[in-house]
Each structure stands twice: as structure tokens, then as C-alpha cells.
Assembly symmetry: C2
Amino acid sequence: MNENLVADRPTFVTHLECSMTGERYEADRLHGLSRVGRPLLVRYNLDGVRDAVSRDELARRATDMWRWRELLPVRRTESIVSLGEIETPLLPVPASGGANVLVKDEGRLPTGSFKARGLVMAVAMARELGVTRIAMPTNGNAGAALAAYATRCGIETIVFCPEDTPEVNVREIAMQGARVWRVNGLIDDCGAIVGKGAAEGRWFDFSTLKEPYRIEGKKTMGLELAAQMGWRLPDAIFYPTGGGTGLIGMWKAFDELERLGWIGPERPRMYAVQASGCAPIVRAFEQGEEHAERWEDAATVAAGIRVPRAVGDFLILRAVRESGGKALAVGDPAILKAVDECAKKDGLLLCPEGGATLAAYHQALRDGLVDEEERVVLFNCATGLKYPMPEAPNWLDRHQPIDFDKL
Amino acid sequence: MNENLVADRPTFVTHLECSMTGERYEADRLHGLSRVGRPLLVRYNLDGVRDAVSRDELARRATDMWRWRELLPVRRTESIVSLGEIETPLLPVPASGGANVLVKDEGRLPTGSFKARGLVMAVAMARELGVTRIAMPTNGNAGAALAAYATRCGIETIVFCPEDTPEVNVREIAMQGARVWRVNGLIDDCGAIVGKGAAEGRWFDFSTLKEPYRIEGKKTMGLELAAQMGWRLPDAIFYPTGGGTGLIGMWKAFDELERLGWIGPERPRMYAVQASGCAPIVRAFEQGEEHAERWEDAATVAAGIRVPRAVGDFLILRAVRESGGKALAVGDPAILKAVDECAKKDGLLLCPEGGATLAAYHQALRDGLVDEEERVVLFNCATGLKYPMPEAPNWLDRHQPIDFDKL
């Protein structure tokens, strides 16, 4: 029905390359990190893409993320796995944000978060390359997306969650057919277990950026944003930054779009948003470092950005700096207040990480980093429904007389 | 950005009419039920619609529900309220359903359920007609959608929930700016309170089918399905039926589409799916009644279809009978098993009401009502994330040696 899922279309991957050293790696082979332990980036023959498809042709396709096929790594159409990766809406939040603020509502994707973008691509590539068993450390949403897609194509999955991962995420992962373990530790402790098992050949390691294709899936946020905004990017993007795959992916997307001639050289300022209780990228940014040290005693209500160490730290920092943006930290009270205000004033229930971007936007306004006239996009990375909400304790006894004035 | 939300387009409402007596009511006035206490249906000048817009023109528009503007009641573009009412995906469920079974995943709509379709339209019309205060009885999802949209356009809302409404729904409603009350009773007990307040002029009554526009919003499920399936409707539709607005709405949509000449006279068989613990429509169907008596002691895990009495009962029964379909009841164990199987085999987490349609489909297969070659659409009316899931109690102590064979 959806042509994007069944039509054979040309693909243009030429090779992969180490994001640190530029060393080349062969395409169509299973890869983890590069020899120096850094993420691999997928490279395309963009001249070929330009000859094969135009912006007009893309506009005629269904708007899901598979319409970008020529800019994606999946070779064989039958490798595609899908749960309906729709183009996520851009929603104005005039009351809680401002007249020029749009929220990209990634909570509408399968399994309720933007993790679906990365995982659908990584799972499709795992399928294409013959992987049968995958393990992953996760704060919740990535594991849910992995479980759903891997289950759908018969790949076995084992998922490790930090002990305080929200219960709903752990249950969702199990429900969707993965084996899931809570571990007494943080996400990098879980990652160490996954790494050990991978070294023993027990499974393929699906940690953030440790396989090359999640970034290609997340890249579609940038492609989609460009198309939705008429090929004119916003002035600033506020992105909740844990592992940073999406920020790195969007930055890569903008570069590819410019090489295609589909956008000009202008770029949004990229604001990497972290929580004050876990802000390794912010600290490194402010200290002028190229890499970010592990953040000790990480703690925030925004579990999705409680990532003490990011393997792509230097790529995040590089993109933020090149863009003229900044890394910003916001406290939990500001995050919760932003979530509350957006729901109460604009009827839109953000996740805490989405709330963090709204809080950071207001902070940036106060600090003069952005002005109200600028077109800004905030990323709400997951549906707010997965997260705890305050109690609503009003009870009414229908057997007693009702005082309508008090309702 | 989305032309559908900002473009002035011609509208074609001629009048409203009583679904029981055919009595005419003036358009562009505030209406509740008809004089005989039955739902009002909106009528259009379909010749005018045919002259104004074609299927090809519709195909060029963004695919959200506002693209159907010429078949919707909202006159003034500035009355439109929106949180991104995307076209919901049709997802194959080959492992848990079958090769020809598609799930229309309504959980991707704003506030995570198909209630958004009805409520966005009803709120837009309330705004257009000057309503400032709305009350509603709800099992949860309708209240959440009402709260979000009403908040977004500054309308005050008071919502009444049965005492055992899922906590997440009650909190979501409060979070999105409504005042919400839990009531010791069922949804029709809550409805009685809303009715009393409405009679006293305290608010406008937004109960299912008691205002004429929710059905027009729900109608878009039928319009969308036709467009998505290339203007050839499926052989059978399984629809979780509480108040039945969606089933009535789709039936109306198919009728309008045929009058427009956009589909032929073929219709899907409509299967109204209820839970064995609350099956008033099934009982009435089997007894050949035109109306359904209240179901006493209603109880089911599928709270959304725990509706003991439906004001549109005769419209549901009429559509089901005209279509050659049937009303079917499924037990809670079958519902939970269907939810589990769809998640574990196809990676898709249904809500219990969606699970009921999958269970009913398998029952209908066994009973020879449908065969595996027929093209079937099941409606998953809400995201499965709002509902309780089984515990996943696996714990792993990272300070102990890990037995990888047991993971």
C-alpha cells in the first residue's frame, strides 16, 4: 500500500568512515565501532542521489521516513521493517513557548519515541546483514523500540536497564518480546555488560553509536524538518542530549542536503540541552574540551538524558560549536514547570526531556542567546504518557447532593 | 505551514437532521440532541463538494484530517484547533492476525487515542459557536482529548470519570488543564451529573452523540480508510464499540463518499465488537431489537467499551445490519491474550479495546463469518502505553559474576 515500503529504489552507500580518523570501512559488512573505538559514519554517492531523485519527486511520496530511501543505508527492500514511521507533526506552542516556537512531536512514532527512527534503521540493517541476536543497554525508550522492531522480524533481543528505569518502559520492552533485565547501576554499567557479552560473541552490541545505522535513522529528523519547513531550516534547534545520536544525525543530514543542493549553507544554531544533574557535554563545552568526561552521580527526572558518558561526545561538541550554538543545562524544577505549562496552556503533554528543551529555550531567551523573532524548533522526543504525572485527587459522591458551584 | 490549517476553503453544511425522525434543524446554531432526544446528523450539499474538490486535489494536500475540510462542519478557518491530527498508519499484523489483516493504529493521534478525531471537531465547533464552558462524562480517553483541545483554545472544561478509570487517564486530563472528578459509578452515572448541570445552564453537554460534531470528526476514519486503500474499502471492519460514534461516523462517511461518486456501492461488513462483560449492542443484535437496553453490572478490562447504554444504539444496530455484519462479544481472557500475542509476535502494543477486535476477528474466522482471504481492518483505538502491562521482574546484580547463558 505504502510504496515506500515495497518499491525497489536505488541506493548509494559507498563506504563507512571513522568519525575520528576518517579511515575507510567497507559497506555491506557488519561493523561496530572503528579501530580507534569511535562511531562509524555512512557515506553516500550524493551525485548519484541527485541524479536519482529530486525534491519534487520526494514531495509526491508518502511522508513517512522510508521516503528518504536514497539517503538511507538499506539495500534490499525486503530488509525493511516498519511499524508506521510517520512524519511527526510540528506543533505551535504559542502560550508556553512563543509565536515562533514549534515542537516537533516525536512521541507519535512507533513505541512512542524518537528512538524508533534509529532502531528501525539499525534493525533493518541487522536483518540485512544476518544478525540473529542483539543486546542493548537502555534508559527505556530505545529498548522498547528495539524490542518492537526486532520481534517483528524475528531477531532475538536482550535488554539491560538501569534500576530506576520507569516501570512502564521495562514492562513495554518485555511485552514486545525482548528479555529484559534491571541492573543495579546506570546506563554505562549496563553497557559494560552488553560489551562483555559482545566480546564473547554472544550477541551483537546495539549500544548508542556502537553500530553505524542508528545515526542514519535519526538523520531523518533533519531531512524531515527541512522538507516540512519548505527547505528553509529554523534559526535554532533545541535538542535534548543524552547519547546525542539525533543531534549528530541532523548535523549530518544538513550537510548531505547542502551537498545535494537542496538547502543552502545556512544552519540552525544547535542547542544541546542537558539536565543540571547530568551535564557532561555542557561542562566540556564550557571548558573548551573536545571530549566530555564521565559525569559522576548523575541524577535527573529526565531519565532519557541521564547519560553520564557519550561515545559520540566529540561529534556533539563539534556540531554545536560549528553551528554557533551552545550546550545548556536546566534544573529539574524548570523541567517540570515547563512540562506543566505546556500542558496547561497549550494542551500538549511533553515528556520531561521535551520539557527540558522548552525550559532551555526560555533560559536562552533570558540570556539573549535567541530572540523572540527567531524561528525555533524544540524536540519532544517521546510521548508524555510514559512518564509519572501528578495525582488528581478530586472525588465526587453521586449519592450526595451535588454543589455545582464547587465543580 | 500546513495549508489545511490556514487555507480558507468552501464549506457545504446545509442543515442538521434528527437521526430518528428526519426533522430538520438549522445549521450554525448550538444544538444538543433532537426534540425526541436522539443524535443530530450534519447534512451537506454534496453536489457542491463534488464541484469544489476532487480526489486528485485531496491527494495533493497534507494527509492530516483537516484535508477533508469540504466534508467537515467548521465554517471559519480561525475556528480550527489542532495538535497534529495525522493520518494514522495501517499496519500489517501477519503473525498475530493474518496475511490480509491491517490494524489502523489510532493511538498515534494527539492524546494517544481516536477520541482526538471527534473532540477536535466538537471543540472547533464549540469555539465557532461561542461555547465557553464544557462538561463531559468519560472513561478516560475522550476526557483527555477534550481537555487538550479545549485548553488550547481557552474553553473551560469539567470532566467526570467512573471511579475505576485508569489513573493515567485521570491525571492526563488534569495535567491538560481540565477540572476532573472521579465519581462512584459508571459512565452513565457521570453522564447524569453532566446532564443535570447542562439543564441548569452551567455548561454545554459534550457527552457522546449529545452534540452533533464528534460524529463528523470520527467520520474521518472512514474517509481516511477509503483514501489509504485506493478508494476500495476492505471486506470487513472490526470496531470496538462503546458509544459507537466511530462506527456510525464511518457508515455516514461511506454514504457520503458514494454520493460523491468517489467509491462504489460496496460496503465492508461492520463488526461491532464488545466485551462479554458489557455487551448491550450484541444482546440487542441477537434479539433483533432496534434499541439496546442498559447492561447491568458492566465489567471488563477494556474500559473504553464499558458503556452500558449508548444513545446512538439504533444507529449502530442499523449500520451493522445494513452492512451484513454482526455484533460480537469477546471475553477478557481472549482480549488480554490478543494484546499479548500482537505485541509478542508483531511488535505492536494494542490497547485492550484494540485487542478485543483482534480476538473478535479470530472468533469470526472460527465461526466462518470471515475467511482468511478477505481484506480486514481492525481499529486499535488508543496507544497500548496507557494501560497496565504485566510485571517484568528480572533483576541482575552487576557486582556478582554474570552467567551469560542465563540471560
